[in-house]
Amino acid sequence: MTIPSLISLSGIERVFQLGDSEVHALRTLNLSIAAGEYVAVMGPSGSGKSTLLNLLGLLDRPDAGTYRLEGKDVTTLSPEEQARVRSERIGFVFQSFHLVPRLTAAENIALPMTLAGIAPAERSKRVEQALKDYGLANRADHRPDQLSGGQRQRVAIARATIMQPAVILADEPTGNLDRATGEEVMHLLEGLNAQGVTLIVVTHDGALGSRAQRQLLMEDGSLKSDSVAG
């Protein structure tokens, strides 16, 4: 192991309290992902895939264990510092797109930069480029409800990449799309991976999962298998 891993989890536990019973969403999870990898996370419903992804995205905190991102322990960071890491290092793509309905496509794409306080001139330059890259140039002023599902997810991907993150976390990005559109979206994500961005995709779809170099199979909160496609 000469390359320092981008993500390194050790002994991660996540327990949800549901009334009297405890749900072990993640149990003593050890995992390491190198920069530039393309990882598919698969497994049955309720196996902890989304929980894992939320932890990786610093949207959730583990109950035990440490999470190192780029060699730095991020579990002990303050909420404000975690927000900064999310802003600069992590891009999210969600199954249900999660666009802000009152903002236009361009504004949605610009949102992470707006939140980060980047100057308007720089913002519009990058947004313009992103709109072109994702084939949305003539949809810039459309609101999400005026866009098709595929266009919405392209906006979401553009938004996830606009801050040039080190890792993109996608939770069932094609779950709400038909096969052809889903294919298109996966192509975009894989293209980003080809440029060096680490890509972690949660999916139910075995066919989609097998396109990744590495497949993680989750079951009942544990890693059941970790296979690298050869």
């Binding site: 939320n54 995205g57 949207l59 959730d60 909420p79 404000e80 927000a83 900064r84 999310r86 802003s87 600069e88 999210f92 969600f94 249900s96 999660h98 802000v100 309905p101 009152r102 903002l103 949102l111 992470p112 707006t114 939140l115 980060a116 306080g117 100057a119 308007p120 938004r159 801050m163």
Partner: protein, 402 residues
């Protein structure tokens, strides 16, 4: 997040839900409009009364017989139960005081006035030529009583506007002879309508020379001595000098009360100022209610926008950014409400002035400023709790809740 971005974001969030925002703006507007209109009414009442009293005459000092009870216990008063009368000589002596410009004695009584078979009971005011100066009276016709020796007056009378219409109708009154009591007077002047409700109404008075009035009432006492000081700043010196002169003339006993119009005015000013303040306070309650509404509406907004808050956090928004955006929204809505309320309030006050032209219903500046400030303050204050709640939401829970 940059300030212009923050403002635009908050504005879009506010306009994104017009019903909610409209309701909030309306509540704020009603609160501020209530403050503006109610204080306009309160302060209008104060101004109205002030104007009425000012029209009594400026720099007025009034001498009344008898010691006012507010002076505390005075052994001299205890012995002489009946104070000495005020006389025309007393009045004339006051002219010696350097701070006094004009003196007008006033004797008052009732009598009957008759002309051409019409008979009417009237108030007779016996005074001198100086009375018009002191009281700033205006004549509609003719002149006031002639100046000259106070002890000898010509048989002339000046009548109030109402007496004129009742006794003469449309016929000319000037130069006519009237009988007052058992004397005959020639009418030399008619006073202009005063139309005032608060002061002794000159419309119903008949003015005759003080000497004749005293002869008519068979008494040499005065009801009042009215004094005009030389200037506003000499009112107090005039009061002191007048008191001193009367005291000397009454064997060292201070058996008169000297009041200044300023004192009366100040009392009313204070009274009605307090009233305005109280009214403003009541109106401010509606602002507090509006503030609670702000809180309620913003809390609902936080709940409705939980998913959005989670998303913003996922995209790197800090708690502070979320909090500021909600606070900015609350402040903007409050500000819009305050501005709208200000316009509504001013329009309402203008309407009152239009309907009652004599009533100066202008909201005082302090009330307008306080109203606007309170609106903004409550808006932000009651916005803090929802904003903090939004800022503290766990991103993952916020995201999953839709």
């Amino acid at each position: 997040m940059r300030t212009p971005d923050l403002i635009r974001f908050a504005r879009d969030a506010a306009t994104g839900n017009p019903l909610r925002s409209g309701l909030l703006v309306l509540a704020m507007a009603i609160g501020v409009a209530a403050v503006v209109i109610l204080t306009a009414l309160g302060d209008g009442a104060r101004r109205y009364v002030m104007n009425e009293f000012s029209s009594l005459g400026s720099n007025l000092v009034i001498v009344l017989p008898g010691r006012s009870q507010t002076g505390g216990f005075n052994p001299g008063n205890a012995i002489t139960s009946t104070p000495r009368d005020l006389t025309v000589d007393d009045a004339q002596a006051l002219l010696r005081a350097p701070a006094v410009k004009n003196v007008a004695p006033l004797a008052v009584g009732t009598s009957e006035i008759s002309v051409g078979g019409r008979l009417r009971e009237v108030m007779i005011a016996g005074t001198t030529a100086e009375y018009t100066q002191v009281r700033k009276l205006e004549l509609a016709q003719g002149r006031f009583l002639a100046s000259g020796d106070w002890r000898r007056g010509a048989s002339e009378a000046v009548i109030g506007a109402k007496v004129r219409t009742e006794m003469f109708g449309n016929a000319p009154a000037l130069g006519q002879l009237v009988r007052v009591g058992d004397r005959r007077f020639r009418i030399v002047g008619v006073l202009a309508t005063s139309g005032q409700g608060l002061s002794l109404n000159t419309d119903e008075l008949v003015f005759v020379p003080v000497s004749l009035a005293q002869a008519m009432f068979n008494s040499n006492t005065l009801f009042r001595i009215l004094i005009e000081a030389t200037g506003r700043e000499t009112i107090e010196p005039a009061k002191a000098q007048v008191t001193e002169i009367i005291k000397l003339r009454h064997e060292g006993e201070e058996d008169v009360t000297v009041i200044t119009q300023d004192a009366v005015l100040a009392t009313f000013d204070k009274l009605l100022g307090t009233l305005t303040l109280a009214v403003a306070g009541i109106a401010a309650i509606s602002l507090a209610v509006a503030g609670i509404l702000v809180m309620n509406v913003m809390l609902v907004s936080v709940t409705q926008r939980t998913g959005e808050i989670g998303l913003l956090k996922a995209l790197g928004a800090t708690g502070a950014t979320i909090r500021n955006s909600f606070l900015t929204e609350a402040a903007m809505l409050s500000l819009a409400g305050a501005a709208l309320g200000y316009l509504l309030g001013q329009a309402g006050a203008a309407l009152i002035r239009h309907l009652y032209p004599t009533f100066p219903a202008f909201p005082p500046d302090w009330a307008v400023l306080a109203g606007l400030f309170t609106a903004l303050f409550t808006g932000i204050l009651f916005g803090v709790l929802p904003a903090r709640r939004a800022a503290r939401l766990e991103p993952v829970q916020a995201l999953s809740k839709r």
